[in-house]
């Protein structure tokens, strides 16, 4: 409860589940993240059924304001990533929390 899971935990899970070496397990976890990242960099949507969908969205330039000084500063056009969770993931999270 309220711990932080990292790459090392994912590699450990793959190591226990798949029966590859520890080294290979962590390389494959890294490769999965890299492949998802490069697809997003190409502007592709990444759809992982029963988990969720990552989409790259382009934001136009707009005028922002420094909240401390009130000064107007342009926020340049940029790309942001949006993650839409699947219903399976949403349900798992709500079921998990109602049991707790």
């Amino acid at each position: 409860m309220n711990e932080t899971i990292t790459r090392a935990d994912l590699s450990q899970a793959v190591y226990e589940e798949v029966g590859l070496s520890r080294n290979e397990s962590s390389e494959l976890v890294e490769l999965v993240l890299e492949e998802i990242s490069t697809a997003l960099e190409r502007g592709e949507m990444v759809k992982l059924s029963s988990f969720g969908t990552f989409t790259v969205k382009s934001k136009n330039q707009r005028i922002g304001r420094n909240p401390k000084t009130g000064e107007e500063v342009p926020i340049l056009p940029r790309k942001v990533l949006s993650f839409r969770a699947s219903n399976v993931l949403k349900d798992a999270i709500n079921d998990g929390h109602s049991e707790a």
Partner: protein, 93 residues
């Protein structure tokens, strides 16, 4: 890219890897993340991003078609914040 395309890529790049193993790798990773979030943990993948869970309070909503008030129960929603490296890579050109 879909999950099956991702699995295909893993076996293309690692020809000795069986397709069943590639499937198991991908499902293990995302089930592990799902289980962590379901038990209230956060998942921090440096450079990629962080998955966490946010609490939404119960509120009175409104059916936009009828204007009728409806009770919306409290709930927990998954949240993803992009990592600095991936954000910079998306915006490098």
């Amino acid at each position: 890219m879909t999950k099956s395309e991702l699995i295909q890529r893993l076996t293309d790049l690692n020809p000795h890897l069986k397709i069943e193993d590639a499937e198991l790798i991908v499902s293990t990773i995302f089930e592990e993340i799902t289980d962590a979030l379901a038990s209230g943990d956060r998942v921090e993948l440096r450079g990629f991003g962080t998955f966490s869970v946010k609490h939404r309070k119960a509120r009175i909503g409104r059916n936009p078609r009828t204007g009728e008030n409806v009770k919306v129960d409290e709930k927990y929603v998954p949240f993803f914040k992009i990592g600095k490296k991936l954000h910079d890579d998306l915006n490098k050109d």
